[in-house]
């Protein structure tokens, strides 16, 4: 059962740069996929189109049954509620506590307080930060902040978690801690797509690896490693 289906997707930016050429891709439910490639290969564009930060110029993209290419600006939230996104720079609200940052994603749905409380603590427990619920993000280390961001992304129980270089700002040990958390989440049934530059992580995890080059999929390994082909 495919969760993501991309057919003949092309993305050309307004300045004329073609970031993605005729891309076809299928990702199944429950998969853990790395998207790798050199800088400017189109991997960021690819995942931005998945959560409709960017619109494809042509072709079709289906994410969990939603036709993303045809989704109107006003309706983007419908898609966003079905997936979670994690970034390199965490994108936390620094004036809110850890708890509030995570609860934020639930409150907009009008979920009762007790239920929010329960869900937030559960997910904070999952990322190992239950004891820091009342601290502010600035008082946390980078790895901890990223775990808060992950908690926020998954608190809704999304089918898909998109990670854009989540370990890009973190040291090696912390990166592996984050990967452990992501693997845990993946085991619970969430599909994960992760863009990364980190060779070590890709090699160690032995997951599906999609290699992009100049906007095209050049390799798609079932259980791949970060080969030297990239550089």
């Amino acid at each position: 059962m495919s969760l993501i289906e991309m057919k003949h997707v092309k993305k050309q930016y307004k300045n004329g740069v073609v970031a993605i050429h005729d891309l076809n891709l299928e990702i199944n439910k429950g998969e853990f996929v790395f998207v790798i490639g050199s800088t400017g290969c189109g991997k960021s564009t690819l995942i931005k189109m998945l959560y409709r930060e960017e619109k494809p110029t042509s072709g079709s993209i289906k994410v969990g049954g939603i036709d993303v290419a045809k989704l109107r600006n006003r309706k983007v939230y419908i898609l966003r509620r079905k997936l979670g996104v994690v970034f390199q720079d965490f994108k936390l609200l620094y004036k809110n506590t850890v708890y509030e940052n995570v609860a934020f994603a639930l409150e907009i749905f009008g979920i009762p307080k007790d239920e929010i409380h329960e869900k937030v603590l559960k997910v904070l427990d999952l990322v190992g930060l239950k004891h820091k619920a009342k601290t502010y993000p600035t008082q946390l280390s980078g790895g901890e902040q990223q775990r808060v961001a992950i908690a926020r992304a998954i608190v809704n129980g999304p089918k898909l978690l998109i990670c854009d270089e989540p370990t890009g700002n973190l040291d090696e040990n912390t990166s592996f801690e984050i990967m452990d958390v992501l693997e845990e989440i993946n085991k619970l049934g969430t599909t994960i797509i992760m863009v990364t530059h980190d060779t070590e992580i890709v090699n160690k995890m032995k997951k599906r690896v999609i290699l992009l080059d100049a906007g095209r999929v050049v390799k798609d390994y079932e259980k791949g490693t970060y080969t030297h082909e990239v550089n």
Partner: protein
């Protein structure tokens, strides 16, 4: 139930946000405060000018002289006709006897002369004093009255009254224009100030969108925030209005320069103005926030 929860969450969050972004909120609040003080002053001025104009207009009377030696029935007929006119607000009748008596009381000279007149010689005429509803129509009404049978002469300060009316009309229109323009300028000024403050919260909006907030979800807390800013911004203008106006009123004994120019009584006037200021603050704050946040939703 869900909607109520969302509503209260929005109220709570926007309240929190006003204080968490206090320095930015302060900028918006001061902007609202300053402009509302100016709006308050112009509202107080215009309403007083209008009030003064209305008082003068009220005093304008059409004096209707009847022909000499008319019968009681003829007089009643004139009265009926005056009463049936659309623009007539009220009228009083003074018989020639009443007029002569009051004139004789006023002056000894008059008395000595008038006492020699026989009733049928007296040049004094029976008189109707007519007040009109719409002063702009006074000429027409006076004209119509003069055409009634047995009316000899109609006077209402022709020329002077028209001039006065047109001056008041101009003053009224200019002052209303100034107040409206001020309110519109305030709205955009506040929209801009809030836009600057929201710019620093672009990130917050971006994150809200990322976690699946609909545009309405995002807008509502900001609009509530605008509402709070409007209320907070109108506190000082309201205080200035209430204390300022009462102080001025008492210092001038309720009149400006002469007993002719009466100031409006402070109560309940100042409360209406205060209510209006809060309402303007709220509307303008909400409008400003709504406009400002809209810009960041075009992603």
């Amino acid at each position: 139930m869900k909607l109520i929860r969302i509503f209260f969450r929005n109220v709570r969050d926007s309240f929190k946000s006003v204080f968490r972004n206090f320095s930015l909120s302060l900028a918006s609040i001061s902007c609202i405060t300053i402009t509302l003080v100016v709006v308050a002053i112009s509202i107080l001025l215009t309403t007083n000018v209008n009030n003064f104009a209305r008082l003068i207009e009220k005093d304008v009377t059409i004096v209707t002289f009847l022909k000499l030696n008319i019968t009681e029935e003829e007089k009643d007929k004139v009265e009926q006709e005056i009463r049936s006119m659309d623009n007539v607000d009220s009228y009083t009748f003074e018989s020639k006897e009443e007029i002569s008596n009051s004139m004789m009381e006023d002056s000894e000279t008059f008395k000595s002369i008038m006492e020699q007149w026989k009733a049928e010689d007296s040049p004094i005429q029976d008189t109707f004093r007519v007040k009109v509803d719409d002063i702009k129509q006074i000429e027409k009404t006076a004209d119509a009255i003069s055409k009634i049978e047995n009316v000899s002469l109609v006077k209402y300060g022709q020329g002077m009254v028209e001039q006065l009316i047109s001056v008041f009309e101009i003053v009224k229109n200019i002052s209303i224009g100034v107040v409206v323009a001020l309110i519109i300028v305030t709205a955009f000024l506040i929209a801009n100030t809030i836009k600057i403050t929201i710019f620093s919260r672009k990130r917050e909006i971006e994150i809200m969108r990322l976690v699946g907030a609909s545009n309405l979800n995002i807008k509502i807390p900001f609009i509530f925030e605008g509402l709070f800013l409007g209320i907070l911004g109108s506190i000082i203008p309201v205080v200035v209005t209430i204390y300022g106006y009462v102080t001025i009123y008492e210092n001038f004994n309720g009149q400006l320069f002469s007993p002719f120019i009466k100031l409006i009584e402070p109560q309940p006037f100042i409360y209406y103005v205060s209510g209006l200021l809060v309402a303007i603050g709220i509307v303008v704050g909400m409008f400003g926030s709504w406009r400002a946040v809209r810009k960041y939703l075009k992603i």
